[in-house]
Symmetry: C2
C-alpha cells in the first residue's frame, strides 16, 4: 500500500493553506471587476488591491506607495533591472553575484547587451565582497544585483556589508528576495527588492516589487499605463498573496526555528550517507532549504525514484530552464553540479516526515547506484 | 431602498460563474505545484495546463501545440508582435488599423521604433481595405495587425477580406481577438491571434496566444525557458480560463442571439434620448457591446451618476490608460470622443435589466445636463 504523499519540494510552490484559499475565493467574489474603472464594483476591487499592497509593504518595511504588484515575478525583475539601468544613462555595466537566479542573469544580460560583471562566491555561496567593491566602484556600473538568499542552497548573503559598499559607491543595489520573504525577516538595506508570493505559500501568478523613494527608475517599455501590471492585476491573487504572507509572519520566528532544526537533522542524516556532500552555509541560511550533492549519481533518477516512494523533492537548477541542466549555482561554488537533491520544507512538514525521508534515502541511493552500474 | 446592483460593464471583466469558480478551486487543489518539475504533483499540474490548452485550442480551431498560455494579455501582444517582427529581418514597418487597442499600438510602436502605418476606418469602424492593401504590399512591412472586433464599439472587421490581402502579399496577419472569443465564433483566417480569458468570464491574469505552424517567430527576450509564460503559469487560472470558455461555447449561438436582441433594444431605446449618437456597425458587431456618445456631456458624470443609481457601465477608452482620456477609437471614426457610455452585457443580464437601464437613463442624462449648465 503506498504511503501518503510527502511533499519536500517547497521552493517556489507549495500546497495552499485553507486561509489562503479562502482569500482567493473572497478575492474572486469581491474583486472580479477591473480595479482601474470608476464604478462601485471597480472601487471594491481597487480597495482589495490597495489593502494587499499595504499588508505586503508592512512586511517589507516600506510605505505602500513603494510596493508594486506585477503580473509575474520575471516581469518584476525585467522592469526593475531595465528601469534602473535606463535611469543611469551613460553607465553601461551590471554587476551580479555568480549565484543569482537565471531570471536576474538573463534580464541583466539582455538589458546591458551582455555587459555583465560576475562576482565570485566562496564554497558556502557568500559573495566576494572585494569583487563587489571593485564592481560597484567602477564608473561604468549602472547597478549591482545580489540576492538575499539563494533558492537552491539556502545561503543568506551578508547584505548589510554589500549595501554598505554600494551605498558608498552610490550604485543602486537590487536584491532578489524571492527565496527569503516569508521565511526570514525582510532585509533592511536595498534600493530595489523583488519578492515571490508563490514562495511563501500563495498561488503563483503575481510578483512583488519594492523601490525606495530615492531609487531612480525610468519606464522603458511600451505600456503607458501601469508598467508593473500591464493590463491590470489579478485581484484575487493579490489578496491571496497578502493573506498568505500575513499567515507566515504571525508565526515567523517559531516556524523558522522549527524548520531550521529539521534541516539540521536532514543535514546530519544525509551526511551519514556515503558520497554525499552538503552544499551551502550550514548556519547562515534559510530555515527550510537544503541541497545535497551525491557523488557519481544523476539527479533525475534520484528524484524519480523518491517520487515512486511517495516523496517529492527538487533537483538541478530549482526554477526555469530544463529541470536537469547543470546548476550554475553549484558550479560557481565549486560543488558537484550533477546528482543533487534540493529539499524544501513547508509548514506542514513534521519530524516524522523528515525521519521517513531519511529512512528511505539510503535504499533509494543504493537502488540508483546499482541501476547505473548495471 | 437601493435596488440590486446591475452590472453592464462586461468588457474585459465580468462576474465569475459558479462553474468557473469551481474550476479555479479545483486548479488550486490539484495544480499548485510547478508544472515544470518531475514529481507526481508537478505532472498533475502539467496535465491540467495541457488539458486547458487543448480545450482552448479546439475553440480556436488549431492543434494544442500552437496555443500558448501567457502570464498576461499585454505580454501576449508584446511577444507576438515583437517575435514576428524579429523573424521578418530587414522589414521595418508595422501596419495597424486606427482602432486597434492601445496594447497593440504601443507594442507596435515600441517594437518598430515608431515605424507604424495606420489604416483608416470608416464611420462604422470598418478598416479601409485599400489602405490595408497598400500597407501590406509595401516591401518594408513586417506585419499587419487588424482586430477581429473592437472592444469599445463592437464592430466586427471583415477579416476574410483582410486575410486575403495579407496572404496575397505574404505578410503575417496578427489578429486581436481579445474582445470576440467567447462571444462569436473564432475567426478563421489569421497567422497569429491573441485572446483574453477575462473577457469571456474567467478570472483575469492570463492571456492566450495562437500561432499557425507556418508563422515564423523568433524569441526576442531574455528568458531562455518559456517566452510565453516566464516563471511558469498559474495553473488554476489556466483551468478556469478553459472551463469558462467551454461554458460559453456550449450556448454560444443562442446566447449571442439573445444578447444581440437586447443590444438592438438598447440601441433603439437610447436613440430616443435627445443628443445621443450610437456608434459602430448596428449589424456586423459583437452581440453584447454598444457604445453611445452623448452630445455636450462628459462621460465621467454619466458613469458616476448611473453608478449611484446602482448601474455599472463603462466609458472612454475601455481599457488601460486613464479612464477618461478621449478614445482614439471614436476619434478615428469621426465620432464624439467625450460623453460616451459603453454597455457590455454578460450572460446574467435580462430583458428586465435592460428595461431598468433604459428607464433610468433619461433622468440621469437630464441630471448631468442640468448640473453642467448650472
Amino acid at each position: 500500500m503506498p504511503a501518503q504523499r510527502l511533499f519536500l519540494d517547497a521552493g517556489g510552490r507549495l500546497p495552499i493553506s485553507p486561509r489562503t484559499a479562502d482569500a482567493l475565493r473572497a478575492g474572486l467574489a469581491d474583486g472580479w471587476a477591473d480595479p482601474r474603472r470608476l464604478t462601485t464594483e471597480s472601487r471594491r476591487a481597487r480597495a482589495l488591491v490597495d489593502g494587499a499592497r499595504g499588508a505586503i509593504a508592512e512586511v517589507l518595511g516600506v510605505h505602500h506607495d513603494n510596493v508594486h504588484l506585477t503580473s509575474s515575478v520575471p516581469l518584476g525583475f525585467e522592469r526593475v533591472i531595465g528601469g534602473i539601468y535606463a535611469a543611469r544613462r551613460g553607465r553601461t555595466r551590471i554587476g551580479v553575484s555568480a549565484i543569482e537566479r537565471d531570471l536576474v542573469l538573463e534580464a541583466a544580460s539582455f538589458v546591458s547587451s551582455g555587459a555583465v560583471d560576475t562576482f565570485e562566491v566562496d564554497a558556502e555561496g557568500h559573495v566576494d565582497l572585494d569583487a563587489v567593491r571593485a564592481g560597484a566602484s567602477h564608473p561604468d556600473t549602472a547597478l549591482v544585483a545580489v540576492q538575499h538568499a539563494n533558492h537552491e542552497i539556502g545561503t543568506l548573503q551578508r547584505l548589510d556589508e554589500v549595501a554598505e559598499i554600494t551605498t558608498t559607491a552610490a550604485v543602486p543595489l537590487v536584491v532578489d528576495a524571492t527565496a527569503s520573504i516569508g521565511h526570514v525577516s525582510a532585509p533592511e538595506h536595498w534600493d530595489a527588492l523583488i519578492a515571490d508570493p508563490a514562495d511563501w505559500g500563495a498561488p503563483a501568478g503575481i510578483g512583488v516589487v519594492a523601490l525606495r523613494p530615492r531609487t531612480r527608475w525610468l519606464p522603458h517599455w511600451p505600456e503607458s499605463s501601469d508598467p508593473w501590471a500591464p493590463g491590470a492585476l489579478s485581484v484575487p491573487l493579490a489578496l491571496a498573496a497578502a493573506v498568505a504572507l500575513q499567515e507566515r509572519m504571525e508565526n515567523l520566528e517559531a516556524e523558522a526555528r522549527r524548520q531550521h532544526d529539521l534541516v539540521d537533522r536532514l543535514r546530519a542524516g544525509m551526511a551519514r550517507t556515503v558520497g554525499v556532500h552538503l552544499v551551502g552555509d550550514a548556519v547562515e541560511r534559510l530555515p527550510h532549504l537544503v541541497t545535497a550533492a551525491f557523488l557519481y549519481l544523476d539527479g533525475e533518477p534520484l528524484v524519480s525514484r523518491l517520487d515512486r516512494e511517495g516523496i517529492a523533492v527538487g533537483s538541478g537548477s530549482a526554477c526555469g530552464k530544463a529541470a536537469f541542466e547543470p546548476s550554475h549555482v553549484l558550479a560557481a561554488m565549486g560543488a558537484l553540479t550533477h546528482g543533487n537533491l534540493r529539499i524544501g520544507l513547508h509548514p506542514g512538514v513534521t519530524d516524522q516526515d523528515v525521519d521517513r525521508f531519511l529512512a528511505v534515502l539510503p535504499r533509494v541511493v543504493e537502488h540508483v547506484r546499482d541501476s547505473m552500474s548495471a
